[in-house]
Symmetry: C2
Subunit: 444 residues, 2 copies
């Protein structure tokens, strides 16, 4: 259907959408929850902080009066950064002793205790590295391709840049390199290292890899031009411990008519161990949590069950999402739709939908209501890493806020509470609440 063809339903939806937006913006409740959550620090899978945060979430869902709160056990990887993390120019006629801002990439092995000391070879991409032939052997490879700033959508730019972070260690090892330094994949020029996961490949030697701040990457590049034989010493003490028990946190607001039909609204609860995972993805989780809470505050009892899921381990394993989807499948749970917020707490733009064209047309018909929260479009496209694991939903939906600033903060010490704008976060919560309400009333 397009907008509801029952005039009183149409009016009710317009008013409900406006009420959801107003309440979300006026009370800024999710934003205040985010302040509490960020006090606990970052939430890397398996970390002590992540357990404190899981208990906080469970207690919060219970305090809000959700009808059912579940901790779903998940075994997660347990990579730890360790205390030693440094890089220095140690042999150079010009800049000896200069410290470089680095952060181990998630999953990296450690260096030996005394570090790895080697000459540096700089490349912009894997083709350039391959063309070097034997010149990479024994070197620290500096992958120094800047972020693809020219694209309107920063996720597209990220996609064009992040290969050096994900696959740099393998490519460097294949070239005989001893370690990799990767220019931080970020949109704003500064010297903060941005971490993120790397992949090793079976049969290829594992070498340590770290992100380097952009200013220091440029410094090192310039220094190499003056002094191509300079050496860098890299020390990392990170390690991968055995898998460890963790949890997805699930809270249900039961539907009045179809309690066995679920609408999942979700974020991922783990973060990298830099900053406090405010945008990525604490805010997404708390926007999701505000959906059932907004319904309660407005005394809206949805027809279908609203299931709020805080997935664990999106960043380095998606074990939480796999576990949830598996169990849901084996229990034969009926998911009408699942929505994920994992693109930062920025101003709303649209919803990106995996579903057939009839589903997309139905959602487009709701734009007159979604526009109350500045949603301008509904388009076919990817949803979210976590919800896309669910097998039987009619619609998998990604909440799409504006992308311009996301990678300024992403996976770094800059992803803190202060980086989140309260109104932008609350607009997102309202946008999701409107869509979830319509789904719960109208079905698809």
């Amino acid at each position: 259907m397009a907008q509801s063809n029952q005039p009183d339903r149409h009016e009710h939806y317009l008013q409900t959408a406006a009420a959801l937006v107003e309440k979300s913006l006026r009370e800024q409740k999710g934003y205040r929850w985010l302040g509490e959550l960020c006090e606990l620090g970052p939430r890397l899978s398996g970390s002590q902080n992540s357990y404190r945060a899981i208990l906080w979430a469970k207690a919060k869902m219970e305090a809000l009066g959700l009808d059912r709160v579940i901790l779903q056990p998940v075994m997660v990887p347990n990579w730890v950064r360790g205390k030693v993390e440094e890089a220095r120019v140690i042999e150079s006629t010009r800049v000896k002793g200069r410290k470089l801002a680095v952060a181990a990439l998630g999953g990296s092995i450690a260096t030996p205790k005394e570090g790895i000391t080697a000459e540096v070879v700089e490349v912009k991409d894997f083709a350039e590295l391959a063309a070097l032939g034997e010149k990479g052997r024994g070197k620290i490879v500096l992958f120094n391709r800047p972020f693809a700033q020219h694209l309107t959508n920063t996720f597209a730019g990220y996609g064009k840049t992040v290969d050096q972070r994900v696959h740099g260690a393998v490519e460097a090892a294949l070239a005989g390199g001893v370690a990799a330094l990767v220019r931080s994949v970020t949109t704003r020029y500064d010297n903060v290292p941005h971490t993120g996961s790397l992949n090793y490949r079976e049969g290829v030697a594992q070498i340590p890899a770290a992100a380097i701040g952009q200013i220091d990457a440029d410094f090192l590049s310039a220094a190499l031009k003056q002094d191509p034989r300079l050496k860098v010493r890299l020390k990392l003490s990170c390690q991968t411990l055995p898998d460890i028990q963790s949890y997805n946190v699930i809270g249900d607001l039961l539907g009045s008519q179809f309690p066995d039909e679920y609408i999942v609204v979700a974020g991922h609860y783990d973060s990298w161990d830099k900053g406090c995972g405010a945008h990525d993805d604490g805010a997404g989780c708390l926007q999701a949590l505000e959906v059932p809470d907004l319904f309660k505050r407005l005394e809206l009892r949805p027809k279908r069950t609203i299931r709020c899921v805080f997935y664990i381990n999106e960043e380095n394993g998606i074990r939480g999402a796999l576990k949830y989807a598996q169990e849901a499948d084996s229990l034969g749970l009926k998911h009408l739709a699942a929505i994920e917020s994992d693109r930062g707490a920025f101003t709303p733009r649209g919803f990106s939908v995996e579903g057939d064209s009839a589903v997309i047309e139905t959602l487009r018909g709701w734009l007159p209501y979604l526009e109350k929260a500045d949603i301008d479009w509904v388009r076919p496209g990817g949803s979210g890493v976590d919800v896309s694991q669910i097998k039987n939903a009619k619609a998998l939906i990604g909440y799409v806020p504006d992308s311009q600033r996301y990678f300024d903060f992403h996976h770094s010490d800059k992803d803190v509470y202060e980086a989140v704008n309260p109104r932008e976060m609350q607009m997102g919560a309202a946008a999701m609440a409107i869509l979830v309400y319509l789904l719960s009333e109208e079905g698809i």
Copy 2:
């Protein structure tokens, strides 16, 4: 017309739009100019800084190779803040000596040198003040109504809140008050005072008025509940000097076919004397300036003349806009369209157009090109304070970026270079450049 019905024109426009976006984002030239401009400090009409900035703009336009650069003389008001600006709780059993964060409102008269010392009466609106009857007499009136946060568009929220800043001094005087303190009209909770103009009214006593930070407004409100007789002493040394000569800065890129048809692309160059007027409206001016410069960098010679105007004195007089419009009218200049950027350097959303429905349909037909810069809509609506003075244009257009964060910074010490995101600013420049290019090629 809708999108161009000549296939090769359509393809050319798509490619040109994409090229404008890419160049703007990749080179971030306007953003770097903004850094230079902000080094000069704020640019209140008539201030020394404003002259330095005017000379900087003229030199910049000449260095960029615009075909004609003009300083258009304008007499502007000359209000100066002065050195003394403070408020303290001085008689109270509980919080004596507590300093309050205040900033004189633009246009305010000074207090006597020894300050104004009086009891405080708090109201939320003018009706509440009127209902107080004689209780306002001899008091400092604290207008303490919070920003209307519940509305999606913050300009609408501003409109519902700013009456206390604009008319508070008059209403307080009518109630017998001796001074006015006005809760800062801003969206983000902190203690920074946000200034802005006030209006006095002929026949009503002029009393001094200042903005107060939100935290201190709440503090004072709570203190008044404990101790209703507490007194505040307000000292302001601001004054209005005689009008002074200033200038609009105008730069033309001449059209190849219709050099006498102008497309104005504009911002206002003056700012308040807090922060450095980065969002309001240094960025708007430099987005406008980047339009002809992007054309030059891409070797696009427009058919019509692109006229970049930095209007002086939007904040407290709009004398620059009145002068420009008057002279244009008396010279019979032909303005095809005029576009203003004065809503901050945030991510693009749309264009708001004063023009007949055929004009709006024409512009809507260009959405396939404008979408390259994330422009989602063209709607009828207000353009900009400055360009709306122009009498004979077929379309007066406001560039509309996202509004969520604008009033966080507006008219305060927070409106600095660091508050501007380079990508967001550059997306806006690209959006305007695409629209101006289409106007210059197609006409309307």
